[in-house]
């Protein structure tokens, strides 16, 4: 076998290699986990199993928990109305207390969506392995971390051993080049990518997003892109760290400082794909004429530019895609050929781990300033964390949203997956900045269209899908 360290390697391979605890031919590698994030939904059974086996948490100090999926976004001073949710939230706190794990419960100033708080607290850093019982753990890859979602059995495994046995994934480069036209955001870039490679296009792969467009994105934008890697089926998504990354991290609560910061920086600067490294596959996207994207169906790959129309299933080549499109249109209550701009919405949701960071809220507020939400339309903003909420309030964004007719809510996953009271009803149509337009995702029978924060805000004003520059 050639010496791995003299051959050019991709970023993901470098990060992978430095976490191999043990390697045996024919078996998955045993990887060390630097950070394990935990939330209330996928952890109770893991803690239970740990207890039943008489095991302990190997590294409570490398484990951080928060409540996000279930928490209500109003009335935090009142008890949680849904007894089953309340129990799950209580169980999280009790488990963390008994195993010595830091936990940010509902109402805590560090609480928020797990993928928002890791980066903002400086817990998710370049070159780390980050796992969580949640598929959107890919978000943390924006820092050059190898970050992926795991199931509850693996949560238990990480709690007990701080390691995971993983088969080595394939590598995929997605090269994104071209300037971004006005009002075209990271969300549109990633929707276009998923539209191109499909929901299964990244299965078994770690994607590295590369190219001038990616380099020009802020950390918030990069997180939006990496967040949705899983919607293309990818194991993880990564972006090589650079000065934008380092500037974002410096000074955050858990970020290294002083001599350790210098040590970290010199290490992080080496976290790039080597010249001459090869990827198992490469996809290229030119963004110079990209338009904002809107999904029309029930998976994120069923997407078109906002100027487009609902496709005709018979135009699709693959029988399974045809069948899926037909079913999706029926569920979504859409007729082929309808222009997306003519589709009216009932609700607008700005939130989720894809688009609830400060920059997303700024972008939406910029569109809403001096404008009004369309009469009769329900509009809510759910900041990703208490820190985001506080920052937004310090900037006066809450006032802009409220004046426009939006509800300004408490942080959490909220209407992204409808485990709390924020749900769509049957047939209700929603423009959402979240990441999944699956059937019933935002409430049974609800119809979700994925969009960027700017399009969500413009749509709230227009009452139908719109870009900000179309508003009067």
């Amino acid at each position: 076998m050639a010496d791995r360290h003299t051959e050019p390697r991709a970023l993901s391979e470098k990060v992978w290699e430095r976490h191999v605890v043990s390697r045996t031919e024919g078996k998955p590698d045993l990887l060390f986990v630097d950070l394990h994030l935990v939330h209330e939904v996928t952890s109770p059974q893991a803690f239970d199993a740990l207890r039943m086996a008489g095991r302990t948490v190997r590294h409570p100090e490398l484990t951080v928990a928060t409540a996000d999926h279930n928490v209500p976004t109003t009335g935090l001073d009142r008890p949680v109305a849904d007894p089953i949710s309340a129990k799950q939230l209580e169980v999280l706190e009790a488990n963390c207390a008994s195993f010595g794990i830091t936990c940010y419960p509902m109402g805590h100033s560090n609480q928020g969506i797990v993928h928002i708080i890791g980066p903002e607290l400086g817990l998710s850093l370049p070159g780390m392995t980050v796992v969580c019982g949640d598929s959107h753990t890919s978000t943390h890859g924006a820092f050059g971390a190898l970050a992926f979602g795991i199931g509850t059995s693996e949560v238990e495994h990480v709690l007990a051993t701080q390691t995971l046995a993983q088969p080595r994934p394939a590598t995929m480069a997605i090269e994104v080049d071209g300037a971004l036209p006005a009002w075209v955001s990271a969300k549109d870039v990633v929707l276009a990518i998923i539209g191109k490679i499909g929901t299964g296009g990244g299965i078994g792969h770690v994607i590295e997003y590369r190219g001038s467009t990616i380099r020009s994105l802020s950390m918030e934008g990069r997180m939006t892109v990496c967040n949705m890697s899983i919607e293309a089926g990818a194991r993880a998504g990564m972006i090589a760290p650079d000065d934008t990354t380092f500037a974002y991290i410096e000074g955050r609560p858990h970020a290294p400082s002083g001599a350790r910061w210098e040590e970290a920086l010199s290490d992080w600067r080496g976290l790039v794909t080597d010249e001459g490294a090869t990827f198992d596959s490469t996809v290229r996207i030119d963004t110079s004429s990209l338009a904002p994207h809107v999904t029309w169906g029930t998976n994120p790959a069923q997407v078109v530019p906002i100027g487009g129309s609902v496709p005709h299933p018979d135009e699709l080549v693959e029988p399974s895609a045809r069948e899926a499109a037909t079913r999706a249109l029926e569920y979504m209550g859409l007729v082929p050929g309808t222009a997306l701009r003519d589709v009216a919405v009932d609700t607008v949701f700005i939130g989720s781990c894809t688009n609830s960071r400060i920059e997303d809220l700024r972008e939406a507020a910029q569109v809403l300033g001096g404008r009004q939400v369309r009469e009769g339309l329900r509009a809510l903003v759910v900041p990703g964390s208490h820190r985001v909420k506080a920052q937004a309030e310090a900037e006066g964004l809450d006032k802009v949203f409220i004046a426009a007719g939006f509800e300004w809510r408490e942080p959490g996953c909220s209407m992204c997956l409808a485990m709390n009271p924020d749900k769509l009803s049957v047939g209700e149509r929603c423009a959402s900045t979240s990441n999944r337009n699956f059937e019933g995702r935002q409430g049974r029978g609800g119809r979700t269209h994925l969009v960027s924060p700017a399009v969500a805000a413009a749509t709230a004003v227009a009452g139908h899908f719109a870009t900000p520059d179309e508003l009067p």
Binding site: V21, S22, G26, K27, P28, L30, F32, D34, L35, V41, T42, D48, R55, E61, L62, T63, V64, I84, S85, K87, A97, T102, G122, L123, L125, G133, D134, S135, F148, G149, I150, G151, T152, S153, H157, A160, Q162, T163, A165, P167, T199, G200, I203, E231, G233, H254, R260, W261, E263, D267, N299, E323, L417, A418, M419, R436, F438, E439, R441, R444
Partner: protein, 200 residues
């Protein structure tokens, strides 16, 4: 985990692609803190439709689910696997699985049988045509056979996962055999790595 060697029985044909884990077990069901009782929630949004394939009497008691491509994509919820198993499924057949779902399956002993797209298609058609068709999946040999329809094929399973399934080994126990290597790794971690001090 109980050892899994051979799964045989009738199948349910779920002729849909991109069946994500939100469909397998909708989020309402995720509030439970137990690991049992999820069978009632399996495909619960679809099961209300009387025509839904799971509701057809001819498929009662089936142990294999044969689905279209991209099965189990989306959310990492292992509840999807618990629901399928609690309902009575012992294997799922699809041309392509979501990565996390596939891993979750092997942790619990639900067999993810990844077949060539043409075989996947043929199996669905065969089961639709003859609901009494018997399928046999052999873990050691990595084969799936439906002799009644003249269909057979292989599916990939890495050596490690196969041995784990055949023996019903506990993953954590296996990992802890590497205790020395883990300790050695821990000693050498960079000092800049963040930690959230444990509470007493």
């Amino acid at each position: 985990m109980k050892p899994v060697r051979v799964v045989s029985g009738r199948a349910v044909p779920l002729d849909r692609s991109d069946v994500d884990t939100d469909q397998i077990i909708p989020s309402d069901w995720l509030k439970r803190v137990e690991r049992t009782g999820f069978g009632a929630g399996l495909f619960s949004d679809w099961r209300d439709g009387r025509d839904f394939v799971l509701n057809r009497p001819e498929h009662a008691g089936a142990t294999v689910l044969v689905a279209g491509p991209n099965f189990g994509t989306g959310s990492s919820r292992e509840h999807a696997v618990w629901a399928l198993m609690d309902y009575g499924f012992e294997a799922v057949v699809s041309p392509r699985f979501g990565d996390i779902f596939r891993i979750n399956c092997t942790k619990q002993g639900l067999l993810p049988v990844q077949v060539e797209p043409s075989l996947g298609r043929a199996l669905i058609d065969a089961v639709i045509q003859d609901p009494s068709l018997e399928l046999t999946i052999d873990v050691a040999r990595g084969t799936i056979e439906a002799p009644g329809a003249g269909l057979s094929g292989t599916f990939p399973l890495d050596e490690f996962t196969r041995d784990r399934l055949l023996n019903g080994w506990d993953d954590i126990g296996l990992t802890l055999r590497h205790e020395k290597a883990i300790s050695r790794y821990e000693q050498a971690r960079p000092t800049w790595m963040p930690s959230a001090p444990a509470r007493s």
